[in-house]
């Protein structure tokens, strides 16, 4: 049986952030995630490293946290943050009053702004709606949440921390009313692993109440589903927001070769089995096209949805968009600590506050250093500018994202991975326009050649990848995306012979 000091449940930004913090403070720990790192809200998010502008008017406290964390992450995570900067775009119909409130709010929160007239804005983003009235420039950035989690875990592993992915906590073991450990089920073998720990950290975001319940506790949260669509091009080089109170479809974030537009906000009771509605897609697309008309004709390659774990509103009348994006650390006084609310941008601060509470509990005082030290392991991931990738074109395993076979081989060999999403997150393999239609077969082939998988596992992985991929594109099948889909079906179902025949 494994024994440790702190058991962290949840491998999103928050959980991995706590792991890094504990590692740097020398506390023995172990992280348990039921699927993959970043499989929850973290991987389903927009990837916007907020400047805080979005919250400057309605939620000043979050705005302050955002701008401070924004600066820290740019510094410590330069290889997973792309410093795109952002615009808040005012279109005809968006009021001057809101602009003034916005500028004032930003000023008070310490967010640097620059007011641009229409032609200055169009100079920065030439395909912006030509009717743009004006725009405010803010220090928004684009962040890769998968890399972020991986880098956090890197520090944890370097200090001897253990990480169990594909292990679901099914039970919390208590002893004399206090938490003493967890029981976790291996997704593949169904075997139950028991892990003993002095403290349990509940960093499961939207699943927080399920874990609290296992320990006889309760946490109050509001779950808000949000959906996003991905376009097959990088349509603009800056983050674009609408200069008006937060609404559906008013943010576009560039992410390497693609653009993400979103989101929506729909109250749900359960974080599992969610799907993207057609109406959400239409609304996001038409709203995005108002800022960036190119969004209208562009091919959408994927849609997905995630659940925001929000703090319960004190005054429920404002709707979910009005709920604070702030967070709270709860000491359940039985060895369980929960961390609730927050957002990706503030994950480090959340982890710091939670770790402070755990250190208090242990009566140890070691200061937090996560804001000063750069994320470990960035060298291995980065140094990969497009120009260098282009030179290796002959050897490209993924032509859309320009990932060469040598890179994939390196990841397989160094990280010892047996899992296709690991490769995707480290290299962006399969994240571009064809969404892995060609390269997944290749990556799994390489995985077999290097002895990481046997053919049965590879075929299973291929099947489940294709099923997941299809789920992500099924509601976007028209125009060129339909052509791509027929091609991919021709390849896998017909050429490779994976179809289930009836006739």
């Amino acid at each position: 049986m494994i024994k440790t000091d702190v058991i962290i449940i949840g491998g999103g930004a928050t959980g991995t952030g706590v792991a890094r913090d504990l590692a740097l403070r020398g506390i023995d720990h172990c992280l348990i995630e039921k699927k993959d790192l970043a499989a929850g809200a973290t991987g389903a998010c927009h990837g916007l490293l907020h400047s805080g502008g979005r919250y400057a008017v309605e939620d000043r406290e979050s705005a302050v946290e955002c701008i401070q964390e924004n600066a820290i992450l740019r510094r410590i995570g330069s290889k997973c943050v792309e410093q795109t900067e952002g615009l808040f775009v005012r279109l005809p119909g968006d009021t001057e009053e809101y602009r003034d409130l916005f500028l004032e709010g930003c000023h008070e929160a310490g967010i640097e702004t620059e007011l641009l007239n229409s032609s200055q804005a169009l100079e920065l983003v030439p395909n912006l709606n030509p009717n743009t009235t004006e725009a405010v420039k803010v220090p928004d950035a684009s962040i890769d949440p998968f890399r972020l989690c991986m880098l956090n875990v890197e520090s944890s592993k370097n200090s001897g921390g253990r990480v169990f992915t594909h292990h679901e906590v099914v039970d919390i073991v208590t002893h004399k009313g206090r938490c003493a450990g967890v029981r976790a089920r291996d997704e593949f073998t169904s075997e139950i692993e028991e892990i003993q720990g002095k403290v349990i950290v509940n960093a499961t975001g939207a699943w927080g109440d399920q874990i609290a319940t296992m320990a006889g506790q309760e946490v109050q949260m509001s779950l808000s589903k949000g959906s996003l669509i991905i376009a097959n091009h990088r349509l603009a080089n800056m983050v674009l927001n609408r200069l008006r109170p937060a609404a559906n479809g008013d943010i576009i974030v560039p992410n390497e070769t693609v653009s993400l537009a979103g989101t929506t906000s729909i109250r749900v009771d359960n974080p599992e089995n969610l799907c993207v509605e057609d109406s959400e897609i239409s609304e996001i697309r038409s709203e995005a096209a108002r800022m960036l008309p190119d969004f209208d004709g562009v091919r959408l390659v994927r849609s997905y949805t995630g659940v925001r774990p929000l703090l319960k509103a004190k005054d429920p009348s404002g709707g979910d968009r009005a709920i604070t994006r702030g967070f709270r650390v709860v000491d359940h006084k039985n060895g369980l600590f929960s961390i609730l609310g927050g957002k990706l941008t503030t994950y480090r601060l959340m982890a710091e506050k939670l770790t402070d509470a755990v250190m208090d509990h242990f009566g140890i005082s070691v200061p937090c250093t996560t804001a000063e030290l750069p994320l470990e392991g960035q060298e291995a991931l980065s140094g990969y500018p497009i120009s260098k990738r282009l030179r290796e074109l002959e050897d490209m395993m993924c032509e859309c994202e320009l990932v060469p076979s040598s890179k994939v081989r390196q990841v397989i060999e160094e990280a010892g991975t047996r899992n296709i999403s690991d490769i995707q997150h480290r290299t962006r393999l399969g994240m571009g326009p064809c969404q892995g239609g060609f390269c997944t077969y290749r990556a799994l082939g390489l995985m077999q050649e290097t002895g990481r998988m046997n053919p049965e596992e590879a075929l299973d992985a291929l099947r489940s990848f294709l099923q997941r991929r299809y789920k992500g594109t099924r509601s976007l099948l028209w125009g060129n995306q339909l052509r791509e889909e027929q091609l991919v079906e021709g390849i896998y179902l017909s050429l490779l012979g994976m179809a289930e025949h009836e006739v």
Binding site: R469, R474, E489, G497, E500, H501
Partner: protein, 394 residues
């Protein structure tokens, strides 16, 4: 320019229609925007179903399926015609169109088809039919492990061709010196089996020569395994058909964007092809629409509205159904029923024109993947539409 018949689309159906017409002295043009599906296909000719008997499978196809308009007799004749053409050209197709067989895919599964190019003739059939595998160092689209998992007895030898793509290796094979060094290398390998499986890279233009030489100089039987697009056997099929058509005097307008067409009452008069400077005009007595399904751009879907991309004739679409299955692996999304409905003369039913014929995967209810009828359906409807077009202009 003026022709008797203008065929739009250079896929299996358009090319076969144009060859049929040109052989009968009909002046024919082929106008197409891009490369067809056959150029990226396995190069094998699927005719019908996944059981042993193709004609039996057709009996079970729904009444609207285009095969029922072609008729079995005419289907068999047109496939025989295709086989004759290809043999004369030096790319023999092996098989009996009444029967199915299976070939090995690169992931070790079996794919049902009917006719195969001679390079796949020896493809293993029964389990236990032992073979050796030759692969290439760092080749991008072929991973022997997928196969050795299923055929644990198969040994693998790996040749360093100095390039990683199938097109790159196939191009090198067409070079004599390279071929000689490859043959010499094979002779140095320890190969216990009589049969050798190899990814499909046996040259693009000199395949017959390469294949025969390998078998002669090594004393083994070779069979190719078709790989992912760009697929060499598909490329050979397309290039051969085009060569045959050109040889018979068909004029090609390629990379052609049709921007407009002229009509007078019930007749289409000609096509306008966009070009830098002055456009090309292709006039004809009759037109054959062979522009393929969504994947090729013959049909276009704007969410729930479907259109035909050249003449904007009405597209039949399945009513009141979900367009896509929930399961990726279940064949036959309802959307694949959509397309152009034709009468017994292959004239689009819902259009106003009397000199327009349609063929190939653009036809409604063809559902080529579900019914395993890809190239076979394209060949037979191409020839059928050509016959009716010829009748019309005479």
């Amino acid at each position: 320019m003026k022709f008797d018949v203008a065929v739009i689309g250079s896929g299996m159906s358009g090319l076969m229609a144009s060859i049929y017409l040109a052989e009968r002295g009909v002046s024919t043009a082929v106008v197409s925007r891009g490369n067809p599906i056959c150029s990226i296909s396995s190069g094998c000719i699927d005719i019908a179903g996944s059981g042993p008997d193709t004609l039996k499978a057709i009996d079970s196809f729904p009444g609207e399926h285009p095969y029922h308009k072609v008729g079995k007799e005419a289907l068999l004749e047109s496939i025989e015609y295709f086989q004759e053409l290809m043999s004369k050209h030096g790319l023999e197709y092996d098989g009996d169109s009444r029967k199915n067989r299976s070939i090995l895919t690169p992931i070790g599964k079996r794919r049902v088809t009917s006719l195969v190019p001679f390079t796949m003739k020896a493809a293993e059939t029964a389990d236990g039919d032992a073979f050796h595998i030759i692969s290439f160092k760092d080749i991008k689209d072929f991973f022997p492990s997928y196969l050795t998992g299923r055929f644990p007895d198969a040994q693998v030898s790996v040749f360093d061709a100095g390039t990683h793509t199938t097109v790159g290796i196939a191009t090198k094979m067409d070079n004599d010196d390279f071929l000689v060094s490859f043959v010499n290398w094979i002779r140095e390998q320890e190969i216990a089996r009589d049969k050798i499986a190899i990814p499909a890279i046996l040259g693009i233009t000199k395949t017959r020569e390469i294949h025969d030489r390998l078998e002669r100089d090594t004393g083994r039987t070779f069979f190719e395994i078709p790989t992912l697009p760009p697929s060499i056997p598909g490329l050979r099929l397309y290039r051969s058909l085009r060569k045959i058509a050109e040889g018979k005097g068909v004029s090609f307008f390629s990379s052609a964007e049709i921007s407009d067409f002229g009509k007078e009452r019930k007749k289409i008069l000609g096509l306008t092809i966009k070009k830098p400077g002055r456009p090309d005009y292709v006039d004809a007595e009759a037109f054959i629409l062979a522009t393929g399904s969504f994947v090729s751009g013959g049909l276009f879907s704007d969410r729930n509205k479907f259109s035909e991309t050249v003449f904007d004739i009405p597209v039949h679409s399945p009513a009141g159904e979900e367009l896509f299955n929930e399961d990726f692996f279940k064949l036959g999304h309802p959307i694949e029923k959509s397309g152009i409905r034709v009468n017994d003369r292959f004239i689009p039913e819902d259009s106003e024109f009397e000199n327009l014929f349609a063929a190939g995967s653009i036809l409604a209810h063809s559902e080529t993947m579900k019914y395993g009828c890809g190239h076979g359906m394209a060949i037979s409807t191409g020839v059928a539409a050509a016959k009716h077009a010829e009748e019309y202009i005479r």
